[in-house]
């Protein structure tokens, strides 16, 4: 456990000594703020229209504001997280520092988990900062806390899944750029894989593809529903990603 923590702290530190962490957090918070304002405007317009038409005065903040906002942030993560994890293994392999880790008495899983937790900690921080915006909502409106929290949990799990994909791809190359683009491509594939099938047909293939999709599992979370089915999906996705990373690092010892 201490070993994992040592690696995680080293990873986290490496994000913060380069501009990486600041750029990523700044970018994330800025985009979040932008979408926040856009959806706030949208909500205000909708509620004014609703008011003029004599509908119910209080419109659902969660439905009109938080859900689309979190949905948009999921897309931002799809771009941002691969950029974050790209260097993780690739840079160590390029510069040779991986040999320091490989020849130390750390086990493969300790190194992988350390790297994973380091990236996850940075992502958690990014997500945490955006709570400031959410706080604003509570100042001026009365959103339900439950769906917001479950939405954040969904985002967090989805981010965790992206990070495990990113780590896997990064472990397969020495080139950071290849790692970033490769991870983005893979994550995107997993995102849109459900579009192949025709949902109305109800065939098994469609169902399987829909099940694989990272995005589809997020929907319920943003609606405020925490379904163990989706939890299990993300957790097994992450575990499988890390398992493959371990295999990839190990096979590297045979090839390189």
């Amino acid at each position: 456990m201490r070993n994992i923590l040592t690696i995680a702290l080293k990873e986290l530190r490496s994000y913060f000594v380069s501009p990486m962490a600041y750029v990523a957090i700044g970018f994330f918070v800025f985009i979040y703020g932008y979408f926040f304002v856009v959806s706030l405007n949208f909500m205000v317009r909708v509620s004014m229209q609703a008011g003029m038409m004599g509908g119910p005065q209080a419109i659902n903040v969660n439905e009109y504001m938080v859900r689309p906002l979190l949905g948009n942030m999921a897309v931002v993560m799809l771009f941002l997280l691969p950029a974050l994890t790209g260097r993780s293994y690739a840079e160590e392999k390029r510069s040779g520092t991986i040999e320091l880790l490989l020849s130390s008495p750390l086990t493969g899983p300790q190194i992988i988990l350390g790297k994973y937790l380091g990236a996850l900690a940075l992502f958690t921080l990014m997500l945490g900062v955006t709570f400031v915006h959410v706080g604003v909502l509570f100042l001026y409106g009365e959103p339900e806390l439950g769906p917001i929290l479950s939405g954040y949990l969904g985002l967090w799990l989805m981010g965790g899944a992206f990070i495990s994909v990113g780590l896997l791809i990064s472990s397969m190359t020495k080139n950071q750029t290849v790692a970033v683009v490769g991870a983005f491509g893979t994550a995107l594939m997993l995102w849109i894989v459900s579009w192949i099938g025709d949902p109305s047909s109800g065939s098994t293939t469609t169902e399987v593809l829909a099940y694989l999709s990272i995005l589809d599992h997020f929907d319920d979370f943003s609606k405020g529903v925490i379904d163990t089915k989706h939890l299990a999906y993300y957790l097994s996705f992450i575990t499988f990603g890390l398992f493959l990373t371990a295999r990839s690092v190990d096979s590297e010892r045979w090839r390189g």
Partner: protein, 327 residues
């Protein structure tokens, strides 16, 4: 302490290491010698767990490096070919990190880092970023990292590469000092380094061990015959000196070459092990020629190295190698 048994490593069609076996006893320094691409780095990476072997077994400090890697690695310090430094850490931070991943925590850590820095002479750059160090300092910080946790076994891939002459001497001294309680393998291209620091030499070429021996024995073993070079002043006398020299017992061949300034150089070859210098000197003087210089030409490690590693077809020495491996 270190035992390598029939280790083979293939990269697809390329055989980087081919059935290599050798052992290093406790406290010894073994020199790993070979031309570029011989397989030195590959063997070292296998011993340190950075690469796996296609075939064979290896033991470090009594632990199988493939079966019990963590135990083996705990007792190994490794300086790779490129020192594995994190450019954005200062030397002190880097060594502290290296200490932590080797299980050295807070209390002992400061002390060990300071000791390693002192031994490798990097205290004056302690607070500089590793990425901004010169090649020589990188090498030394890499060495500090390797000795930090006081391992039983040190594996050093070209430890003096990129150092200035003063540092080379200091590093060699340090390595010799360490040899007492550490077992060391070092690879190098610099032949005098092997002669000066190592007790045993493994010469490897194209992935195969071509010789294992002490530097002295190697020079001896490969010397089929010894040569003496004699510089003479003929002083107008006839060629009797050449004839006289050839009559000395054990001398097998004498060749005379006139030099530009009217002198003559004799190359006297004699049987291995026989010391004919005084007889040759006497023979030459009785002939009336002036004896200006007499040198025994030993085959240098350099010659041996070239002889062993640049052969086109398999030579005698190759056939001898397996026997030498067991020695």
């Amino acid at each position: 302490m270190i035992e390598v048994q029939h280790v083979t490593k293939r990269y697809g069609p390329v055989t980087a290491v081919d059935d290599v076996s050798f052992r290093v006893d406790s406290g010894q320094i073994l020199g790993f010698l070979g031309p570029n691409g011989a397989g030195k780095t590959t063997t070292m990476r296998i011993l340190t767990g950075c690469a796996s072997a296609t075939e064979g077994q290896a033991f470090v400090a009594g632990y199988d490096v493939f079966e019990e890697p963590v135990e083996a690695k705990r007792r190994t310090g490794y300086l790779p070919e490129t020192p594995p430094l994190y450019p954005d850490m200062t030397v002190r931070e880097y060594l502290a990190f290296a200490a932590r991943i080797n299980g050295i925590r807070s209390v002992a850590q400061r002390e060990r880092v300071a000791a390693a820095m002192a031994r490798t002479n990097v205290e004056d750059v302690a607070d500089r970023h590793c990425g901004k160090l010169s090649k020589g300092y990188r090498q030394r910080v890499g060495l500090a990292q390797a000795i930090l946790h006081n391992p039983d076994v040190l594996i050093l891939d070209e430890p003096t590469a990129g150092l200035d002459p003063k540092q080379i001497i200091e590093t060699r001294e340090l390595i010799k000092e360490l040899a007492g309680d550490h077992t060391i393998i070092l690879s190098t291209h610099i032949l005098p380094e092997v002669a000066q620091t190592c007790e045993r030499v493994v010469i490897i070429n194209k992935g195969r061990v071509v010789a294992v021996d002490t530097p002295e024995n190697l020079t001896g073993r490969l010397r089929g015959s010894e040569t003496i070079r004699v510089q003479l002043d003929p002083r107008g006398a006839d060629e009797t000196a050449v004839v006289q020299a050839a009559t000395v017992p054990n001398v097998s061949n004498v060749t005379a070459t006139p030099t530009q300034d009217g002198l003559v150089t004799l190359e006297v070859q004699c049987e291995k092990g026989a010391d004919v210098r005084s007889e040759v000197a006497r023979a030459v003087i009785t002939s009336g020629w002036g004896l200006l210089e007499l040198t025994s030409m030993r085959m240098s490690l350099e010659d041996i190295f070239l002889e062993l590693t640049t052969s086109e077809e398999p030579r005698e020495e190759d056939a001898e190698a397996p026997e030498a491996t067991d020695a």
